[in-house]
Symmetry: C2
Subunit: 82 residues, 2 copies
């Protein structure tokens, strides 16, 4: 059993309205030291597989097909024992 | 300048309908090895501060007050140079 930990973030060049809203809310609460906030997704997938190389290949395919919108998002992932 | 990387996840005991939907979609696409999927948030905050201990304290406060709903969510964060 492996676990894939996937991070999906907006590309640097893409505006992040959700991050902008979070920054504004933090400023309102007095956290003025926050210069910038960017929000992404974090996913944990439990994989019923015993081959790490195969798991990496499959998770890459999942990211390309479903988990990330590669037009505006970047993704990266780690495969960990679990 | 430090950067805070914040991970907010649903508590283990809380149902994750978004994760359930992602698992279903992955199965539909033929990724049957996915036993479970849980979705969380990933945030990067740029902090205009030079004191790491102070940054940790402030980010903990941000999580408690705004970034996580501690009734149903857990959070953890790293402070990195950036």
């Amino acid at each position: 059993m492996f676990k894939a930990v996937v991070y999906v973030t907006l590309r640097e060049s893409v505006l992040d309205p959700q991050g902008h809203a979070v920054k504004g809310a933090l400023h309102t609460l007095g956290f003025d030291e926050v210069n910038n906030a960017r929000i992404g997704k974090y996913m944990e997938l439990e994989l019923n597989t015993s081959d790490r190389a195969k798991a990496e290949e499959r998770v890459r395919e999942m990211c390309e097909k479903l988990l990330a919108n590669t037009v505006v998002e970047d993704y990266r992932f780690d495969i960990v024992e679990g």
